[in-house]
Symmetry: C2
Subunit: 564 residues, 2 copies
């Protein structure tokens, strides 16, 4: 491919809102362009990388026994109503109505579509298990789309759905898919951490995220030193250590409290650590019910866990006005008097003689003890793990941050019991709902993650397996012999099946070499007056500093060896 004819060449300028390295490099290198926020064109260079990632995913999925197929992009809304996901999905569903009045959702994820397909067939236990997957465009009506390909409104996703006769059979596939994902990412040079995570709008009992460690990521996770436990902060379980179990319980008393509304204000007033206070936050659920979350003052609320402890209800924090209506005051709310549902974090059991508000402005209650002075409707794990916490087994945990590139979900019979007729005939002749799992990989996000991980100040450093081309041939100088030799080498390499991008432009050496570094193809070949003196070409690998001269007659072989 001659660079002079390539559509989508490099540019120097970057537009204002480009923050992430991957966004900047993919833009400058000519891999992608934004249409409107969160919707991307993949240019010829970009689609080549995209297609190589797709091919790796496809090969590994096939090797794992999964079968490729495809569903329509528009999903009949009736299917999403069957599972009640039109109300509950955590991403905003995009939908439209056609001119005959039929309503459709734009595919965000395809559980209902796959179950609807499967129930069109008569399937017996003999046909099970199977795992069907597709590559298809997915849509999310996100309010905010982050820069670049990491959080977009439209993207290509590999989504797979497996159908089983029982949980035992499913668990084999769950492991099989987990291993397959690790292999897929390894083939692109990505090391993944597998963490327990929240299943969000998908349903089911458990799931895991595949995370590539990176500061550009949005996933915070906790992991024990020995890596035996790793979980997203939203689901991570951690130990609440006893703080002052030897202290004697003192009598409760109400006192004037000349402080501001925060825990920090309490620390200042009493000269005691934050854990000595109770944190009480009032929430309002989707149905309008008021609920209080109660925990140790040094911990932060984990709204994902709180939601689960409320059976999945939508929640928001109560306003100052709503707290007043309850008969309390912001900053002085306590679990002692208000007659609303209370969910307490298990940390309440670890402290003696808490201080807390007295539901009056600038009044506190001191020496409050859980069980002696108040209880809650439900004691649960509703706190975010703080830095340097311990695992439930008492092992030290470290914080990690990363990009979620894939996830695997146990679905069980969540969909197949909600959708009518999603049944197979078992060995005993009886009809039973399928036991399911699902498995996703975002292709564009994976591509951007590779760039976040593999780059330097000059540009991208593509791994061999997904580089847009195998070699970047550059001719330097306008000498006729140089041009002819480069032309010939380009044709010869292409003929030999080597993917070559050939910068044949009449430009300055500096510009051409900078472009090669920016685009980031693993091998750069330079033909110049100097190299021609020894009938050779300069070989430089993108991730090394050294160059070497290779005879023109030897270059094809060297490339083949490098890529074998």
């Amino acid at each position: 491919m001659k660079y002079s004819k390539l559509f989508g060449k490099t540019v120097k300028e970057v537009s204002g809102d480009v923050k992430l390295v991957s966004h900047r490099l993919l833009y400058q290198g000519g891999f992608v362009r934004e249409s409107v926020a969160g919707r991307y064109y993949f240019l010829p260079l970009g689609i080549r990388v995209n297609d190589k990632i797709v091919k790796i995913v496809e090969e590994e999925m096939d090797k794992a026994g999964a079968q490729k197929m495809i569903t329509p992009v528009l999903h009949p809304i009736e299917l999403w109503e069957e599972t009640n996901r039109t109300n509950s999905v955590g991403f905003e569903l995009m939908s439209l109505t056609d001119q005959r009045g039929a309503r459709f959702a734009l595919g965000g994820t395809a559980e209902e579509m796959m179950v609807d397909l499967v129930r069109k067939f008569n399937i017996s236990y003999k046909d099970l298990p199977f795992n069907i997957y597709q590559f298809s465009q997915k849509f999310r009506d996100e309010l905010r789309a982050r820069g670049g390909l990491l959080r977009v409104r439209e993207f290509l996703m590999k989504d797979a759905y497996s159908f089983h006769s029982d949980e035992k059979d499913f668990k084999k596939e769950y492991k099989n898919m987990g291993d397959t994902y690790t292999r897929i990412f390894e083939r692109m040079g990505l090391k993944t951490v597998v963490i327990e995570s929240d299943n969000g709008y998908i349903g089911g009992d458990y799931c895991h995220e595949f995370v590539v460690e990176s500061d550009a990521g949005e996933s915070r996770f906790l992991m024990t030193d020995d890596k035996s436990y790793a979980a997203h902060e939203e689901v991570a379980v951690f130990k609440r250590e006893m703080m002052n179990e030897k202290e004697e319980m003192l009598p409760m008393e109400v006192k004037d409290a000349p402080r501001g509304p925060t825990i920090a204000d309490g620390v200042k007033l009493y000269g005691q650590p934050a854990w000595k206070q109770i944190k009480s936050i009032v929430y309002v659920t989707g149905s309008g019910e008021k609920v209080m979350a109660v925990m140790r003052g040094d911990l932060e609320i984990n709204e994902v866990k709180l939601k689960h402890s409320l059976g999945g209800a939508e929640i928001r924090q109560a306003t100052e006005e709503e707290i007043k209506e309850l008969g309390s005051v912001v900053g002085f709310v306590s679990p002692l008097k208000l007659k609303i549902k209370k969910i307490g974090d298990i940390s309440l059991k670890t402290v003696r003689n808490f201080s807390t508000g007295a539901d009056e402005y600038r009044k506190d209650t001191l020496n409050v003890n859980y069980e002696r002075d108040f209880t809650v409707d439900k004691l649960a794990d509703i706190a975010l793990p703080p830095a340097d916490c311990l695992s439930s087994e008492g092992k030290k945990m470290v914080d990690g941050k990363g990009i979620e590139v894939g996830n695997i979900f146990q679905l069980g019979t969540h969909y197949t019991t909600r959708m009518k007729g999603a049944l197979f005939t078992d060995q005993d002749g009886r009809e039973k709902p399928y036991y399911m799992g699902c498995y996703g990989i975002g292709i564009g996000r994976t591509l951007a993650t590779v760039v976040e991980v593999f780059n330097d100040e000059k540009g991208i450093i593509w791994p061999k397996s997904i580089a847009p081309y195998q070699v970047h041939l550059v001719s330097l100088g306008s000498d006729e012999k140089i041009r002819k030799t480069a032309d010939k080498l380009h044709d010869k390499l292409e003929k030999a099946g080597i993917e070559v991008l050939y910068d044949d432009r009449d430009r300055q050496a500096g510009e051409k070499l900078a472009d090669a570094d920016l685009i980031g193809i693993p091998v750069r070949l330079v033909i110049s007056k100097r190299t021609l003196e020894s009938d050779s070409v300069e070989w430089k690998e993108r991730n090394r500093k050294e160059t070497e001269n290779v005879k023109l007659t030897e270059i094809q072989k060297k490339i083949k060896v490098y890529y074998s």
Copy 2:
């Protein structure tokens, strides 16, 4: 691939509204399933064929110098407004609004998106020409979706867009794409006829359809015996021969006409051929104007041409009431008195002494002559070519019917003058609008067309190049040795890179062989007690009657030779 584990096995029953052979066979064979009308799942067998077609198209497009990329599926509606296509598109545009209030069209075709992308770059004549293409899901809000994959509401399309500095350069690419299309369809065994056609909602001056002759098709076209001229009936030009030029013009007279309202009624009353009458049809344009189309009574109106002669206006036939308001009567409308715009077909010049209505119930005017007694505002070609007509050069033309599988369009500067800033810098330093073309192939429709062309009473007969698998291995009998030999052969062939579908089910011979015929893989291999006696396997090609025994040791070689 073991058939026992394949998702999407054959079925015997067909649902009610399956009319086309391709629809029935693709359903029964387990290639596709309908989600809702006009929206299809491709099952594992179907996606394999789909992917092979995609690969052929991609290879040939790349060979022709085009560059693959991809646009988002959701197009900002502002772009379609720039070219005024939100009002004028011939297919109904599907659109939606996101939660921030931004409106999008679901991609039906991508001219605006491509021009919008290209104008983001600084492009000079040196970068031209280029041709960028994509495979992407397209949406049409059709009121009626025909059975099967021939007319659907959602489909994968290869659409390409070329950008040139001038018409001369474009014409080279138009030919290049035409040749490429012929090669693409030839590789799937399809013979195409290239016909002139209407550009519909696309714009531009001319275009060509690639048609595969088939009774299942919707495209009627006319072609001269020597194939020097071929055109869709909507655009075909044909000769109007003089019918009675020697007859003397007689004086006009009004007479009672005890006849019904049709041309046939006139033929009965006067005992004269249909061409002796004038056909006058009143239309109402989108803006409410009334227009009369006037032509010889034996010809049919060509509404596509009529629309063009009205500058592209939308039209519909007037109601009885509207004709009454004009001061005439249905069945007796004439071009003599009504003061509305009249478009006459050039056939009006070929007849002397027409009879026509007199704008009164059961009154006709006889001996009416064009130019002597009436004229029209515009004389044009607005008739459909009848059977057995002559080309404009007087050559005999025959009727053809076929399926449109691809089309190529000249766009000129239609889009680049309507969209601001779609300019390149020419050699003289001045900015000029790009000269464009576009080129489409429907992948699913091509797949269905192959099935329409290649089938027999037993099932599909796939061409080698796009068969879902290369061989269909069938074990007959439950003998352990048969199973083991078949298992081993399956593994061996797969290892050798041969695509094999292996029917390992414990079923009757008749059922397994019928399934193989239905699915239509080019080579069937049977292992049975009988073949094992000679350490061989039975070889049968799907499109031949004969079978032969091939030694197990020779089979791999024979397959490779067959597919080389």
